[in-house]
């Protein structure tokens, strides 16, 4: 099964992001560019797989802003293009977006943004939809997998009709869920790129207001374009007691809730696929004669607030009672689900529905108490664990209460026990280095703490470079620790400029991070984190050498990349139970209690540590951790 199947009318089981990619393919795109970010990564990842076959140019760009710029360049040159990013990424791209929205585009340009309600894989659960409203850009929200494909295709048309960017907002459950999708035609047209130099797309001082005026006035025509789109629909009785207005995955939850509570005869569901600007006529038609409205949507009360504004402006003479996030009927933060919608309906309609018996609920609560709390963890053999171990030891030995500024990637987990709780700040991509640069300049205020910034190889390229240059130029007293594991590991090993391959697997020149740093006059120390003692000593030395920005390159391929290559483990690790001190003085379960690699387990029967052979990746790091030399690593 692939998104490139040329069987129009056939039904495929596709992931939401694959459906979006298929929609782009059916729309005849030429260019796709993105920086990976959960839950958006599979859109461009999927297109990369079929790039050669369909003559696409697909790239993993250095960051989201550049990705949008690369996609916009295609649009300006007459080629349809798509970019995809997570909500944090939209912030990175926002600066360009806010300006290209004014100057406009040429061929279809679609920006897919994958929001992460509940922040399952993110530092925040920001609702990206506000940005569409800020910039007066059309916003589409698919509620089904079929819509994910069809809306994407339509988004290109819309974009061309208004000569501007069209935003497609998905959420984790749409992007990462799978469902049936009926395929459409694949166009087989040759694309020609040409930048018409008789046109100008320059947003310069003095023109802003004119641009702003025209885009603002365009809002009405966008709403007209929405016309009678099937993405906006109503199902339910002619005059419902309650109208549920919903969008995206909220529609799935609301529909299931109405069915579960058998409210089909009393509650109507108004599904909005075009959430900005609001579809005027469609809403006017369906809000007339209604007096109670429940809005079900993910994250912020975006649709809800805009609806309230809409009824004031457009529904004069009607009065409504609104239920939703503002009234507390739908949680205004965290991810919602079917239960959220059931609870809201149950409450508003006073049904007295009980999903489960109280005794069952009680049993669930009791059972939950027996589930051991588990934090996020680095994989077995993860080089980040080893790097943090060395940092922990070095900082404790050096004294002075060193501060570690973290960043975005697997190594973010350095905030938790798996990274020995070393990391104290995590914000945006590259912010660790930026904060460190600032901390490293507080000497005149008696700040003496050593400062470390963490960043991965991909994050380094994405946003850490400007902050590093800032630190070098301003002589900030910081150590940048680059944990280079050979790819963008957290989102699925997408290549970056430090890797010798591009998105499609073509060979590309790799940019050497050390040489780049050295060209700035930075002393770079390269360590292998699996050699814990040497790594710690390197950190100690670097920490002592204060006064300037320094770089430690902790380089070790991600254990998953190694596993993927089916390479033999470095060591066959076992525990000599006769030597293990276990819980006694001298060890106190050092490996399973402090080091905590999931490949090590505590055997409650023998009261010794042992290796979980199914999990152990054979990195051999725990061999050097064991105070008793009870963990033995035999070279494989």
């Amino acid at each position: 099964m692939g998104i490139d199947m040329d069987k129009p009318g056939s039904t495929q089981l596709l992931m939401g992001n694959e459906a979006i990619a298929r929609g782009a393919l059916e729309a005849g795109i030429g260019v796709a560019a993105a920086y990976p970010g959960t839950p958006s990564s599979e859109v461009i990842g999927t297109l990369a797989e079929v790039a050669r076959k369909y003559g696409l140019y697909v790239e993993w760009s250095i960051n989201e802003k550049v990705a949008l710029e690369v996609a916009a360049a295609a649009s300006l040159s007459g080629v349809r293009a798509i970019t995809a990013m997570k909500q944090n990424g939209l912030n990175v791209a926002f600066d360009f977006l806010a300006n290209v929205a004014l100057t406009g585009t040429n061929k279809g340009l679609v920006l897919m943004v994958g929001d992460d309600p509940g922040g399952l894989s993110s530092t925040n659960e920001q609702d990206s939809r506000h940005i569409a409203r800020i910039l007066d850009l059309p916003l589409l929200e698919p509620a089904t997998f079929q819509e994910a494909k069809d809306m994407t295709k339509w988004a290109f048309q819309l974009s061309e009709e208004i000569s501007n960017v069209c935003i497609l907002r998905s959420v984790t459950r749409i992007s990462h869920g799978r469902g049936k999708v009926i395929l459409g035609d694949l166009p087989s047209m040759e694309k020609w790129a040409y930048f018409d130099t008789s046109k100008s797309y320059a947003g310069i001082a003095g023109l802003a207001t004119r641009y702003h005026k025209s885009i603002h006035e365009n809002q009405g025509s966008i709403a007209d374009l929405y016309g009678s789109t099937p993405f906006n629909s109503y199902s339910g009785p002619e005059r419902p007691d309650l109208l549920v207005v919903t969008c995206g995955s909220g529609w799935l939850y609301a529909t299931e809730a109405v069915k579960t509570l058998s409210l089909e005869q009393r509650v109507g569901v108004l599904k909005i696929g075009t959430t900005w600007p609001l579809p005027t006529q469609f809403l006017q038609q369906h809000l007339a004669g209604i007096d109670r409205i429940l809005v079900v949507e993910e994250v912020d009360p975006f649709l809800e607030t805009n609806l309230k504004e809409f009824v004031v402006d457009r529904m004069a003479g009607h009065s409504y009672r609104f239920f939703g996030k503002a009234s507390g009927h739908i949680p205004p933060y965290g991810e919602i689900n079917v239960d959220s919608a059931i609870d809201a309906l149950n409450n508003i309609m006073s049904i007295g529905y009980r999903p489960r018996e109280e005794a069952y609920e009680q049993k669930c609560r009791e059972a939950a108490q027996h589930v051991p709390p588990r934090g996020l963890q680095f994989c077995a053999g993860c080089p980040h664990r080893a790097t943090y171990w060395a940092i922990k030891d070095a900082l404790r030995m050096a004294g002075g209460n060193g501060v570690v500024a973290g960043d975005i990637g697997c190594y973010t987990m350095g905030i938790q026990a798996t990274g020995f709780s070393q990391v104290k700040t995590v914000h945006a991509m590259g912010s660790g280095m930026g904060l460190a640069s600032g901390l490293g300049k507080l000497e005149q205020f008696h700040f003496e703490q050593p400062v470390l910034a963490m960043c991965g190889d991909s994050t380094f390229f994405h946003a850490a470079i400007p902050a590093l240059l800032n630190a070098v130029h301003n002589e900030a007293d910081v150590v940048l620790v680059i944990v280079d594991n050979g790819g963008t590991a957290m989102t699925g090993f997408q290549p970056h400029p430090g890797v010798d391959r591009d998105a499609g697997g073509e060979i590309r020149p790799e940019i050497n991070i050390e040489k780049l740093c050295e060209s700035l006059g930075i002393a770079v120390t390269v360590v292998d984190p699996y050699d814990i003692e040497a790594t710690r000593n390197a950190f100690l030395e670097v920490l002592e050498n204060r006064g300037k920005a320094r770089v430690v390159m902790s380089r070790r391929e991600c254990a998953l990349i190694r596993a993927g290559k089916r390479l033999d483990p470095i060591a066959r690790v076992r525990v000599d139970g006769s030597k293990c001190y276990g819980d006694n003085c001298g060890c106190n379960r050092y490996c399973t209690r402090i080091f905590r690699c999931p490949g090590l387990i505590w055997d409650r029967e023998t009261l010794t540590a042992k290796i979980d052979e199914a999990v152990c990746s054979g990195c051999g790091v725990c061999v050097s951790i064991c105070p008793q030399s009870a963990i033995v690593g035999e070279t494989a």
């Binding site: 922990k392 030891d393 404790r396 030995m397 004294g399 003085c585 001298g586 060890c587 106190n588 050092y590 209690r593 402090i594 951790i625 105070p627």
Partner: protein, 373 residues
């Protein structure tokens, strides 16, 4: 719950109170505590309420009566220079040893004797070739012992090396060359309930060094680095009064004589609470023979010590002469002075004559010293 983990007690009661002598008794046994640059580093948090670290630390609280009884079969008396079976002056016969040693080379000669006679198979001593960063060294060869000759006056975690050595299966009998605080630690360890857990039976010989105080690693190192290249330093010495100097001998620039008053600020606070100058909990203690250049004062305290001296003389490694009465009295006065000064400092720190910190378990002996004030 208000239970205190062993390491928390060491941190709160010893390290942060500046009572830690950096002897190394709490380290070398587990991964949690490590000595580094004059500080005991709590690398990770052990969850045990008790362990060897706290049991062995002489500064958490030491029962001198119990320790003394286990070692000498008699109770501890405040006295002056501790148990004496013999006392004399001595110097190494071998000119090579003599030139490497700080004064008379007797310590090195005794170490060599112990190894040659098979009394021990390993000697734990302090490698002080880097005068700013001495460390505990485990040696089993005569040549390696030479590397440990000479003093540095900077505290070293020598017992850490002992704790590591004692776990090595191929080492069965160990000698330790150590300062008074380290010898008290070793004696405390040997008489502890957890002695067996630490193979203390392997400790066969303790050779003590007289000590007035030690310097703190980091601050003194920084101070010295401003004056000389630490790697250029071959010897440091505090000549007997009234010199009042701290002499630094360098390879390239000869002797640099610093006023002792410049160095005193770097004395570890912990040393100011120490009541032992002559290393009373040893088999034999060795120090400078004041006013007798190139000779050591030797105090023999145990049968084992007598046996070692006997063998060293028979092998011709050391020469012995009588210690003049005047010098012995002077040594006793100086030693007693240190005890009284330490108690005064303790009382000043606690603000009470009833809270004697780590000596609170031996009130009777301490009361005698206090009353002399």
């Amino acid at each position: 719950m208000n239970e205190c983990k062993a390491w928390e007690e060491l941190r709160d009661g010893v390290i942060e109170e500046n009572l830690c002598t950096y002897c190394g008794a709490c380290t070398g046994m587990c991964p949690y505590l490590v000595p580094y640059k004059g500080r005991i580093i709590i690398r990770d948090q052990c969850s045990l309420d008790n362990g060897r670290c706290r049991a062995f630390c002489p500064r958490v609280g030491v029962d001198l009566t119990h320790v003394h009884n286990s070692m000498f079969g008699s109770s501890y008396e405040s006295g002056d220079i501790g148990v004496v079976k013999d006392v004399f002056i001595s110097r190494a016969a071998d000119p090579k040893i003599l030139s490497a040693g700080q004064y008379g080379g007797v310590v090195t000669a005794l170490g060599v004797t112990a190894l040659e006679e098979g009394m021990v198979d390993s000697v734990v001593a302090t490698d002080s070739q880097d005068k700013c960063a001495p460390f505990g060294a485990i040696t089993s060869r005569r040549a390696d012992l030479f590397g440990c000759a000479g003093s540095s006056y900077v505290a070293a975690a020598t017992v850490d090396a002992f704790n590591r050595a004692v776990r090595e299966e191929h080492r069965h009998n160990l000698a330790v060359v150590c300062t008074p605080c380290q010898s008290l630690a070793l004696a405390n360890m040997t008489s502890s309930d957890l002695a067996e857990k630490n193979n203390m039976g392997k400790l066969k010989l303790v050779i003590g060094l007289f000590c007035t105080w030690a310097l703190s690693y980091e601050s003194f190192g920084l101070f010295l680095m401003e004056k000389v290249d630490p790697h250029d330093v071959v010897k440091v010495d505090i000549p007997p009064p009234p010199a009042e100097t701290f002499d630094v001998y360098t390879r390239t620039a000869g002797r640099l004589s610093l006023p002792l008053s410049d160095v005193r600020p770097f004395i570890r606070e912990a040393c100011t609470y120490c009541i032992d100058m002559t290393a009373e909990f040893t088999d034999v203690s060795v120090g400078a023979a004041e006013g007798i250049d190139g000779w050591n004062t030797v105090i023999v305290r145990s049968e084992r010590g007598l046996e070692l001296i006997d063998k060293a003389v028979k092998r011709g490694h050391i020469k012995i002469e009588t210690l003049p009465e005047k010098n012995l009295n002077h040594l006793k006065d100086a030693s007693r002075m240190k005890k009284k000064r330490a108690l005064k400092n303790i009382c000043r720190k606690t603000g009470s004559r009833n809270d004697l910190l780590y000596l609170r378990n031996c009130p009777t002996a301490m009361q005698i010293l206090l009353e002399e004030e």
